[in-house]
Amino acid sequence: MSSLFPLTVEGAETRRRGKTLVGPVSMTLTGAGATVVVGPNGAGKTTLLRLLHGAARLNAGSIRWAVPTEQAQEAQAFVFQRPVMLRRSVVENLIYPLRLRGTPRKAAAAEAEAWAARVGLSDMLHRPATVLSGGEQQKLAIARALIIKPQVVFLDEPCASLDGRATAEIESILQDTKAAGTHLILSTHDMGQARRLADEVVFMLHGRVHETSAAAAFFDAPETAPARAFLNGDIVT
């Protein structure tokens, strides 16, 4: 399949009950490595991710992938801040997206077991997904997103409310994914995580993108004053 990138966003806006949640946003993502969206709570990180994914209503402007939208949506997956578990076993959760795409049951099951092994869930294949711990659920959600071999994975604060070990495990899965050529678009307010994963940083405040730059440049010398304050650990309002 041809590449989804570059992604061109022009004046994109999403509103709800007359209030603008995000926008207008204009930017171009080239699709190298990982794009990390940072910003304080309520800056619109989640909404931006949903907007790019096509799960939030686009009220104005445009979001264009390099391929037709429908084709682009087929090659995307989304991991939520609070993992949504299907009320099924771990292996059934992993099989589900494959079955939606018409993969035969046997092949899907084999693939699911391989992915469970990759994220360290092999010995709980037949456990109901809803009784897993928070970290395990998030790993399962990530595996379920990656199992369809998407070109882009959106991750909305995947490690929020997880402890250090779970975070490290998830980051190592994400590093592998990145190395395999999948583009990550991830929001976080853990600056350490942003530094570890980012190739490109999008800084958001009040529903607008204030800065889009390469990670090294952003962390060394942010261009805008709010970004500088945010990196210094000041409370940005």
Partner: protein, 234 residues
């Protein structure tokens, strides 16, 4: 009190001696209600799922009406079905009046709103959980419905049991459309009404006890088959 005791002992002997007439009407009760239940579920549950996932203009009205119809008076349903199926009615040509089929139709009308309403409530909660994920996965309407119905199957069992309970104990509608004809359309509830009317309280009570026993047995069976209330299951 004597009626109660003789009813109990009569019920005991009716069951122990496997009374042929009792077996026949008990089986007919089961046949009518279970058929109505299976057909009713086949209609009510997809309908409930559709109401949960689909946003259309009259959705709220439809749900409100469905909730209101849960309390549909069986006698009125019986009357309407009677009129529709009677010789001069629009479906008179099929000659269904006073047959078990007519009773099944009447019971379906009674239990479909009940099952759909209860099922819709649990499916709606599940859909709130699943909404973001399924939208993100680009699933079709049909796949959404299938996923919801499968993952909420235990809650749907409860809805089905509620439907069964209402159907098996119902007398008003089946009395009208079935006619309580011996060897043809007599079921447990109509027999109880008849025996009470005749003043044979002991027999009526015996039939009542058999009816309750039957209801409990079917419920236990379905629970056991569905493996509800077991650890780690939904």
């Amino acid at each position: 009190m004597t009626d109660l005791w003789s009813g109990l002992s009569q019920a005991f002997w009716l069951v122990v001696t496997a009374d042929a007439e009792l077996a026949e009407i008990a089986l007919r009760s089961l046949h009518v209600t279970l058929t109505a239940l299976v057909l009713g579920c086949a209609i009510a549950m997809p309908l409930a799922a559709l109401l949960a996932v689909r946003r259309f203009r009259w959705r709220r009205t439809v749900i409100a009406v469905l909730n209101a119809l849960m309390g549909l008076p069986p006698v009125v349903v019986g009357l309407v079905v009677y009129i529709l199926l009677s010789r001069s009615g629009p479906f008179g040509v099929f000659g269904l009046l006073f047959t078990p089929t007519a009773m099944i139709i009447a019971q379906m009308v009674i239990i479909i709103p009940l099952i759909a309403s209860i099922a819709h409530q649990s499916l709606r909660d599940l859909w709130q959980d699943y909404h973001d994920l399924l939208i993100s996965m680009n699933v079709t309407q049909w796949q959404k419905i299938r996923t919801l119905l499968w993952d909420a199957r235990r809650a749907l069992l409860t809805a089905a049991l509620a439907g069964f309970g209402r159907g098996i104990g119902e007398v008003g509608a089946i009395m009208i459309v079935g006619g309580n004809i011996d060897n043809a359309t007599r079921v447990l509830t109509t027999a109880i009404a008849l025996e009470t009317g005749k003043g044979d309280f002991a027999l009526a009570l015996a039939l009542g006890i058999v009816l309750i026993g039957l209801t409990i047995a079917v419920n236990l069976c379905i629970h056991w088959l569905g493996q509800t209330e077991r650890e780690g299951r939904w």
